[in-house]
């Protein structure tokens, strides 16, 4: 039996486990399909090790149930960042990291030969020259060292500490404290905080979805393709059916919902000549392909279309290009004016009219009015009428409302 390790070589398998534990929080060993009991046990133990503070357990008829209980309002950072800090390494990796950086801090510019000898003299440790040179080149590529030629020699130099910049611009430290907890790729900001030994003691975030960080490696590849105007081949696994599919397209933008916790990649499917979107958490792999020559033109068209998308859909169920929706609402002008504010700030520029005392209409044209249903339901208790050329919308609303009514008053 192999020894348990709390570090891991690859991220993909743990990504799915952490997501399931975090999002669902109730799956027992039997409910995780596709992997062996041993895998479940190891992944669970790793998760307990990384996130011990947040792991809770209780017992159900089906067995022990472990779950992650995280209240994002109470935290200074995203606890799921821990999973990015669990990459395995070799003894040489960690030793060379500390010895090379420490040596170059003391001795400024040095060749790989001199560093190898210096590590022996200073720290009494022996390394092969090739290994030291490889690590120096790796760190140069990563941006921690600078390499320059002096005659036939190649000299390595350590780059200055970030502390120097923070001393000049102290506001930057506070900014990092804020951005690390909510911005895209906030994990990177979190590593800067750790590197420079400070913690967030100022900010909290509301409406934060911590599980986004599990998609960050995928996100970096997609952003690279967007910036380089390239096409991508996406391999995704359906969150419902578990079917694997591949799709090639031009990545354009990441659509983020601040309400539902979902993020989507919007892309242009060249062979179908239409815009489409894929859930970010369904994407398993991104392969960056060639340049897309028409990128700017497609992007401009996309930005124009975006204005009429309620959510992520660019195509409705009816034959018309844009679907019209009109809500008539009862809003008490003496006590419920905040509902008008809601319509203004959440209604994406829809037109609001007062048609009688305490009666208002809200109208908008969107690609797919069905996407508005969850939002429309938030006005339950105030809706006088729903009109749309998408006939199914009203039917859906009424059917669901009736089911709700029965559920609470007749069951």
């Amino acid at each position: 039996m192999s020894e348990f390790k709390e570090l891991m070589k690859t991220f993909s398998k743990s990504r799915e486990y952490v997501r399931d534990f975090f999002v669902y929080g109730f799956k027992t060993r039997e409910e995780f399909s596709g992997w062996s009991s041993r895998t479940y046990d190891n992944e669970r133990r790793r998760l307990e090790s990384w996130l011990s503070e947040y792991v809770k357990q209780d017992y159900t008829k089906k067995g022990k149930n472990i779950y992650l209980s995280i209240d994002s309002n109470l935290l200074d950072t995203n606890p799921l960042y821990q999973v990015w800090k669990a990459k395995s390494f070799t003894d040489n990796d960690i030793m060379l990291h500390f010895y090379i950086l420490d040596y170059l801090q003391k001795f400024k510019e040095r060749t790989a030969d001199e560093i190898t000898d210096g590590i022996l003299t200073e720290y009494d440790m022996v390394f092969e020259l090739q290994m030291v040179r490889r690590k120096c080149n790796e760190y140069t590529k990563d941006g921690m060292l600078t390499k320059k030629k002096s005659g036939k020699q190649v000299l390595y130099k350590i780059n200055p500490p970030f502390q120097e910049i923070l001393c000049k611009y102290p506001g930057l430290e506070d900014a990092i404290k804020l951005f690390q907890i909510f911005s895209p790729l906030g994990i990177v900001g979190n590593t800067i905080m750790e590197n420079t030994s400070f913690k967030n003691d100022i900010f909290r975030i509301k409406h934060n979805f911590f599980a986004y960080t599990l998609e960050d490696e995928i996100l970096i590849s997609i952003l690279q393709a967007i910036h380089e105007e390239k096409t991508v081949l996406i391999t995704s696994k359906s969150t419902r059916s578990e079917n694997i599919r591949q799709i090639e397209g031009v990545p354009l933008k990441i659509f983020v919902s601040t309400r539902t916790g979902r993020r989507f990649l919007c892309l242009y499917i060249t062979n179908k000549k239409r815009f489409s979107s894929i859930r970010m958490d369904a994407i398993k792999k991104v392969q960056i392909k060639g340049n897309y020559s028409n990128y700017r033109k497609i992007k401009e068209g996309f930005e124009r279309n975006k204005a009429s998308a309620w959510g992520i859909s660019f195509q409705g169920s009816s034959a018309v290009r844009l679907e019209h929706l009109k809500l008539t609402l009862h809003i008490d002008e003496d006590s419920d004016l905040y509902i008008l504010n809601r319509l203004k700030r959440e209604g994406k520029g829809g037109t609001i009219r007062r048609i009688a005392k305490n009666t208002f209409t809200y109208e908008i044209d969107v690609y797919d009015a069905n996407e508005m249903l969850p939002w429309i339901r938030t006005f339950i208790g105030r809706l006088l009428d729903i009109e749309s050329n998408n006939k199914r919308l009203n039917t859906f609303f009424q059917r669901d409302f009736l089911a709700m009514y029965k559920m609470y008053f007749e069951e």
Binding site: D102, L172, L178, R204, K253, R399
Partner: protein
């Protein structure tokens, strides 16, 4: 630019924090600090590597471990980190922290890398449109005064205009600034008066603050903000039943992921979820639950259930008062 890299590994960070600023350490302290800053089981792997003939960072002398590395040891930023910093410099909220000149100077310092992302790469499609005005110099001044007071643990004299346009004047001890992604605004989490018998947390919208004056009165330690927040939660959670149809379970679990919650399966297709909340988010939680339609049913607590029923009753009456909208149940049952 690799994110999943050993450079950011927890063990590397633990060792860095051990050696910086201290050139010797006892084994007991080493033990304690690894337990505090590493993963749960890191001690088993790290301790022998640091105290025995492992990585050679320490030399044992007279019961202490002496570091061979400099106490000034630092790790320079990687390109990924610089690239992230350049990205946050493009966010409109950065002007709350830095002047235009400072932003330009930092950009110059990292001229060799491109921003990791542009604000335009993301579109927050359901974010509220009436976010705070971060360019407003008064807002910016208030923001900076609050940050300074949080750091100094200093009381502030705040003139505040409430939602109903009432002006109130109070002394507050600022504890945290809360940013809401959905509302795109900042709120101040403050304790109204620490001297009171039962101080409670107050939440003030930054955009409604009219004036702030530091009081020149400080306290040694800020109160435990989490204690106040947790105390504000209702004793009884909301208990909902989720029907796993139309992918509702997954949608609900994602949407409520930012609440403390506990979910369990109660039969083949139904799940029970307890959601912990406080008065200030009650309406928000209520409309979030309503947005799920019949896929989610509130079964407790009684006061929350009453709110749901009131809304449904009101809606039922509104529909039935319209002559053209007779509510005939037969019309809808066959539709899918």
């Amino acid at each position: 630019m690799e994110l999943f890299s050993e450079i950011y590994n927890c063990y590397f960070q633990v060792i860095k924090s051990l050696i910086e600023k201290k050139n010797y350490i006892s084994e007991e302290e080493l033990n304690y600090r690894i337990k505090n800053s590493g993963f749960e089981e890191s001690i088993l792997y790290l301790l022998p590597k640091l105290t025995e003939n492992g990585w050679g960072f320490y030399e044992k002398q007279e019961g202490f471990l002496y570091s061979k590395l400099s106490t000034d040891f630092y790790v320079p930023l990687t390109n990924l980190q610089k690239s992230y910093l350049k990205a946050i410099l493009l966010d409109d909220k950065i002007t709350l922290f830095l002047s235009d000149m400072e932003i330009e100077n930092i950009n110059t310092a990292f001229a060799d890398v491109e921003p990791l992302y542009q604000p335009d790469d993301f579109y927050y499609y359901d974010k509220f449109s009436d976010g705070d005005d971060y360019k407003n110099p008064v807002y910016r001044k208030h923001f900076q005064t609050i940050i300074a007071a949080i750091k100094k643990h200093e009381y502030l004299d705040i003139l505040y205009e409430s939602r109903h346009n009432h002006r109130v004047h109070h002394y507050y001890l600022p504890c945290r600034l809360e940013y809401s992604i959905k509302n795109d605004c900042f709120r101040l989490l403050a304790v109204e008066s620490h001297i009171q018998r039962a101080p409670k947390i107050e939440i003030l919208n930054l955009s409604r603050i009219q004036e702030i004056t530091p009081c020149n009165k400080t306290i040694k330690k800020l109160p435990d903000i989490n204690h106040f927040l947790q105390r504000s939660y209702y004793k009884e959670s909301v208990k909902v039943l989720i029907k796993n149809q139309r992918n509702a379970l997954e949608r609900a679990m994602l949407q409520f992921a930012n609440y403390e919650k506990n979910t369990r399966k109660i039969d083949g297709n139904t799940y029970e979820c307890l959601i912990y909340y406080n008065k200030k988010v009650e309406t928000e939680l209520l409309i979030e639950i309503l947005s799920f339609g019949p896929m989610m049913k509130v079964v407790g607590n009684d006061s929350f259930l009453k709110l749901v029923k009131e809304r449904l009753k009101r809606q039922f009456m509104l529909i039935n008062n319209l002559p053209s909208k007779e509510f005939d149940t037969k019309d809808f049952e066959s539709v899918d």
